[in-house]
């Protein structure tokens, strides 16, 4: 089985998108030990025609990205447009991926509510229809910053309990070539606790490392 991961994060490394992708890879590899993963990065360069050939032979394409203003980051939109242009061209119409390639979305958002990612999956569905691909399923995780801020928390436990279950469900659907409804999760902790923890343990702590006080974080350009 071949799975291509398209990393739509603008971060060079170590972001929440990469962490989520690793979770999913491990879950898939548990079910299918002989699986081959290929990672495509579009942070610095757009994909070229040679990369598209990977889509002809892969069983699933996972598009992983952080949620920016309720949708994909802009550079991912550019890449999706380029792919659509190619797959609707004379050359692309003959591609083996047409009508076959199943696409999955893997999205993390900083907000608590994982449901905020659903709109981006609806967009991916439209993109799939335009390219002639098959929409698989989307997995949206709320509280994305927790992934980086709490590396000691094991997936499937504590605040990441539901996310762990959803990752396993998505892995099963990918391995079986199935489509399904979006799998969304919020951190398994009360909302007020998440808000307080994110504000102080994530943002204030990061600013403090840069020598900033909370008052300085509130700065307004005069």
């Amino acid at each position: 089985m071949n799975i291509v991961f398209l990393n739509g994060s603008p971060k060079p490394s170590g972001g929440n998108t990469a962490i989520m992708s690793e979770y999913l890879k491990k879950a898939v590899a548990k079910l299918k030990p002989d699986v081959n993963f290929t990672l495509l990065n579009i942070r610095t360069n757009m994909l070229v025609e040679a990369d598209y050939q990977l889509f002809d032979t892969c069983d699933a394409l996972v598009i992983a990205y952080p949620l920016y203003m309720d949708a994909f980051p802009s550079h991912l939109t550019s890449q999706l447009i380029r792919l659509e242009e190619w797959y609707t061209s004379r050359k692309g119409e003959k591609s083996a991926a047409k009508g076959k390639l199943r696409v999955y979305g893997l999205c993390n958002c900083g907000f608590y509510e994982g449901e905020r990612t659903i709109l981006s999956f609806d967009m991916l569905k439209v993109w799939c229809r335009k390219c002639g691909f098959v929409w698989g399923q989307g997995l949206g995780a709320g509280g994305g910053e927790l992934l980086c801020a709490m590396p000691q928390v094991i997936l499937g436990h504590g605040p990441l309990r539901t996310l762990g279950k959803n990752i396993n469900k998505l892995a099963i659907d990918i391995v079986n070539g199935m489509s399904g409804e979006p799998l969304c999760s919020s951190p398994d902790m009360p909302r007020f606790m998440f808000t307080a923890a994110a504000n102080s343990a994530v943002w204030e702590a990061k600013a403090k490392k840069n020598g900033l006080t909370k008052k300085q974080m509130l700065y307004r350009i005069p």
Partner: protein
């Protein structure tokens, strides 16, 4: 002040909008813009300023002076075109990183006090009803995101139909 962000070429824009009111600031692809790199430097390193050195370094400040944000964009899968989306992505220094519950959901709190009305104008030859639904929901979500005062959305079958847009 009104802020107009559009993805038309200069030639197309001049042809469609022969005169533009003086209180409108225009952002187009003529200005140099890099994508947001998700570093959150504008929140935890250089508050209110983006660390990317291009024409959009103080976009949060620009947003703070705006009463209406007019977006003219090709409809891409129910979303904004890359340039217009890029401007929105780069506007995060307008907000603070701190979460608060607003409209029964966790949202970012505001760095500035003004409230923005978003007027979105999507054009495209074959915008499906599904794309219209997504785009309407997206603008609603964006408005909630920036704690805006409200939003309106309109769709046009081609660029020339934008002539009717009141600036």
């Amino acid at each position: 002040m009104k802020l107009l962000v559009h993805d038309l070429t200069e030639k197309e824009f001049k042809k469609i909008f022969s005169s533009v009111p003086r209180d409108i600031v225009i952002l187009s692809q003529a200005q140099r813009i890099h994508p947001c790199i998700g570093c959150f430097g504008c929140w935890v390193n250089t508050p209110a300023y983006c660390i990317i050195r291009d024409d959009y370094q103080q976009l949060g400040d620009v947003f703070s002076k705006v009463s209406e944000l007019i977006l003219i964009s090709k409809c891409c899968y129910g979303g904004f075109s890359p340039f217009v989306k890029n401007v929105l992505d780069r506007a995060i220094p307008y907000m603070l990183p701190f979460y608060e519950v607003r409209n029964s959901a966790v949202n970012l709190s505001k760095r500035y006090e003004n409230r923005i009305h978003i007027s979105a104008h999507f054009y495209g030859e074959l915008i499906s009803p599904e794309e219209e639904r997504i785009a309407s929901k997206l603008v609603e979500a964006n408005t909630m995101n920036i704690n805006g005062s409200g939003s309106t959305v309109a769709f046009y079958c081609d660029k020339s139909a934008l002539k009717g847009v009141m600036l």
